[in-house]
Structure formats: structure tokens, C-alpha cells
Symmetry: C2
Subunit: 137 residues, 2 copies
DNA sequence: AACCAGATGCAACTGAATTGCATTTGAAAC
DNA sequence: GTTTCAAATGCAATTCAGTTGCATCTGGTT
């Protein structure tokens, strides 16, 4: 059983061709993938709605996490191993390329401390950056 | 001439009722405003397309800046005085409320340093947070 | 082999945002 | 104050990401 199939059974999801291919496609990319990108890769082998639902399900189970690009379009990337349904490990930097619009999940050593005004309850801090990615440069 | 009218002439924009009202509406709010919120405030006094165009124009001129909510919907807030067409002062924290989905621009004292992998060119770092705002708490 | 909850495919729909084009208007020139 | 015109507005139609309803199919268990 490959890694994709393992991830699925581990989270109580049926091991279907679509989900396996979605996961292995993400493994091969170093940027977060959009629905449109996946649809292109499937090239008619899966309905667009099925892909939307596969992505939503994978996110709900904590297998992938969702990030909105600067263009407002959702992208998805594999979570780290220690992600759970209840806690996603988002302690990384999302780098937004202003040329290709791709989003990259990059490791970051130290995370900033932030103190909010009175009355604001903090649940998560996220760091993001934008510029030009190594591929577009 | 009030502040809204001044901002417009300062940036070479016509001083129209719609733009003045959009700006003064933003001044009164402490969160970034969405198109839907504006449309409600205008209550038929301006076409929805006109509002979209007003927001785009104000952003292009550096009078307001745009931020995407967690829901993927654009919101706009007045820039600090030192924003220009070429450089927006985004050195603040965007706080996303998970209840009302409003976005708040909050001041932040120290900004984190980040070093990217080779080949990535950084142009801007942004800090965002999510949780519950003071109003929803 | 039988079963069924969950996954898929197809069609229709929603909602944010954009585009084209005719009309109106702010503000500068006269 | 009148003329003038680029810019702004209003209206209709369109685009595009994402969702929903429902019938059919299938992975995995019995």
C-alpha cells in the first residue's frame, strides 16, 4: 500500500482512484495545488465536482490544508504528519508568488509573538510573504 | 473640504458623492469593509458595479488597501497616511474574526525577520491572526 | 456473492466580481 | 455662467469559483 492509500485508510476514507491521484499529485508538487490545476492533471478522468468534494474531504480530515492565494482562489497542500482533525500544523510560512500566483509552504524557524488589543481572543497566528518564487525569477 | 474630499483631490480623482460616502463609511468603521456591507449602507443610492469600481480605483491610487477575508471575500480599509501608489504600508496585523468574518487592521510593534530558501525573492511579509474579535466575544 | 454507506457524475444553481456600452457629471477652460 | 470632455455612473450581460440535489456506482465489509 503506497503512502496515499495509507493516508486514506488511516483517516477512515475509502481508497478511491480519484483521492489517491489527488494525493500523489500533491506529493509531487512543491507548491499548493488549485482545483483548476488538478482538473488539468486529471484531464477528464474525474468530474470537477468530485475533485472539489475530494479536496474538501481531505481538508476536513486534516490530511491537507487549504490556503487562499492572493487571487482569492483556494489551494491545497499536504499537511505535516502531526496534523489532526482538531489541530492543523500551520506553523509554516505561506509564500505567494506574484508572477505565477502559486503558494509555497516554507519552513520557518522562529515564530513571532503578538499581543492584541483588549477583547481580542487569539487562536492562530500566520505568517505569509509575497514576492517572486525560484521558478519565476 | 472634508477629509474624504481631500483624499480624492490629492490623488487626482473626481470628488463624487459615491466615493466620498465610501471613504467616510470606512473612516467610521474599525474593520475592513466588504462590497456587500457598502451596498447595504448605500441602500440603492449607488449601483453595485459603481461600488466595485470605486473600490478598485481607491485601491489603485493607494488610498485604501485590499485584504481577502478567510471567506475569500475582498475587504478594504483606509491606508495609513504614508501609503503611495508604489508602496502600501502593510506593516500591520490583519486579524480575522472567525465568528463575524470581519478583518481588523491592528498595529504591531515588532515585525519578524524571515529568511527564504535560495531563489525566492521577498517583497513583502505579512502577519495575520485569527480568533474572536472584541465585538463577537 | 450480497449489501450499503459513502463516493461519483451530471445538471442546475449561487454569489462575487468583471466587461461592454450608453448616459451622466465633475471640474477645468472659455 | 456656459461649453466641453475625460472620467464616472447605471444597466445588462457575462465569467468563474464553488456548491447543491439527486440518481447511479463502488470500495470494503460481512
Amino acid at each position: 500500500m503506497d503512502r496515499s492509500a495509507h493516508l486514506l485508510s488511516e483517516h477512515g476514507l475509502k481508497n478511491t482512484p480519484v483521492r489517491r491521484k489527488v494525493l500523489s499529485f500533491m506529493e509531487e508538487r512543491k507548491h499548493a495545488v488549485s482545483h483548476a490545476e488538478l482538473e488539468g492533471a486529471f484531464n477528464g478522468d474525474a468530474d470537477r465536482v468530485t475533485l472539489y468534494r475530494a479536496l474538501n474531504t481531505l481538508e476536513e480530515k486534516g490530511i491537507v490544508h487549504k490556503v487562499l492565494g492572493r487571487d482569492g482562489i483556494a489551494r491545497y497542500a499536504l499537511c505535516q504528519d502531526d496534523c489532526t482533525v482538531h489541530r492543523h500544523d500551520d506553523q509554516h510560512l505561506h509564500f505567494h508568488c506574484n508572477t505565477c500566483m502559486n503558494v509555497f509552504c516554507l519552513a520557518v524557524d522562529d515564530y513571532p509573538e503578538v499581543n492584541l488589543p483588549a477583547g481580542f481572543m487569539l487562536s492562530k497566528i500566520q505568517l505569509s510573504a509575497e514576492g517572486i518564487c525560484d521558478n519565476c525569477k
